[in-house]
Symmetry: C2
Subunit: 231 residues, 2 copies
């Protein structure tokens, strides 16, 4: 079946995201270590994020709230409010930074959109994802935009139904094995994995859980048009 | 044109929401007045929410972040971290409270859904709105769910296009004149306004900006089936 529809993930596939979380987390570590020199700040924050995931969901606001809670707990409430205000400021900075596209994204997306129906299928905070899309300059290239709270089989099944897409004519392109590759291949779609320079541990998948076929891995998005031809 | 499609707002139309914000804000006022007895806490928080709306969007996480920032600024950074942790806890409590339906919602929605295509069209935080819908027990009654970051003409136009809805066969039901009534009537749809006991100032509309026809006001959702017949 030839590919008619191409879905693109947003964060770390079209534009940089995880790097910004890492940079903020490094600042957070430095700040907290001034108050609690022996603390494993990264581990405590990661635990807190996982505890809060079912309450807050994904995104920068959730990350900011988890940083604040970690900071208060880890210092036994001794952290000054001014430092917590600094953390609030980091969250705002992340939310207002211009969208920075990965290399080759605009040309590749234009080329693909000329011959396929192209959708953005991205996870996270609705408001922030819309802001990023708006400032990306890519909005007109997408036939549709799906911002979802989680990318699993049910999510993709719903999109296929809503958009009249047969999985056999669909390919998903993204950096997350867990969100972009595994559930799509399981439904009979195809997928192209483009690893990002940093992966959030939560998105990793054990090698033996990966599908044996139906997907390819490439190094950069510019290789995508060639790969789509013989996927 | 007979009505084929009915859109329902969620917050304060199907389930209680604003009341919870008000209750939390009352606790916030009490907490802050212990540190700053002369401060106009409500006005400062409202200002902060409006400043942050273009960065955070709507929802409980945004409200929590704005409470924290207001608390720090209003006390000149003197508020103890423990009090800020209390505020974080209020946010979590709001996000995890069970969905509480308004009177008559379930019966009315079942009756309407038996003869119409019914959509949930709601504004706010994607993750939290999905959680509320899931715990409402109403999920199966909706043919589709649209969670959007803002409800204006463009939003409704996009939904009509995506869902194949002609505005002349559509009625929107909600508590907000600004979000549920004015933009829908402007596009040629019809609307039913059901005021809630509390309205967020941001959602209010001056009487002279209201459309002259194409909408009705009822007291409670149980009146809706009767009104749909002769709208």
């Amino acid at each position: 079946m030839p590919i008619r529809v191409v879905g693109f993930d947003g964060d770390d596939t079209l534009w940089h995201s995880e790097t910004r979380f890492h940079l903020t987390q490094a600042e957070f570590r430095d700040l907290l270590q001034r108050h609690a020199p022996d603390a494993d700040v990264d581990a405590r924050l990661a635990d807190k994020e996982m505890q809060n995931l079912s309450i807050y969901g994904y995104g920068v606001k959730s990350f900011t709230l988890s940083m604040l809670e970690t900071a208060i707990e880890l210092t036994g409430g001794r952290i000054p409010a001014g430092d917590l205000n600094t953390i609030l400021g980091w969250g705002k900075k992340m939310l207002t930074q211009p969208t920075e596209l990965l290399d080759g994204v605009e040309e590749t997306l234009r080329a693909i959109a000329a011959a396929h129906d192209v959708y953005l299928i991205t996870k996270g905070d609705l408001f922030n994802q819309e802001s990023k899309l708006a400032s990306s300059g890519l909005g007109d290239l997408f036939l549709g935009v799906e911002i979802v709270s989680e990318k699993n089989g049910d999510t993709y099944r719903g999109i296929f139904k809503r958009r009249g897409i047969d999985p056999s004519e669909f390919v998903m392109v993204g950096n997350s094995l867990r969100s972009d590759i595994v559930p799509v291949v399981a439904l009979g779609g195809r997928a192209v994995h483009i690893p990002y320079q940093v992966t959030w541990a939560h998105e990793e998948v054990a090698e033996d859980l990966l599908p044996k076929q139906g997907w390819r891995r490439i190094e950069r998005i510019a290789e995508l048009p060639g790969v789509l031809k013989d996927l």
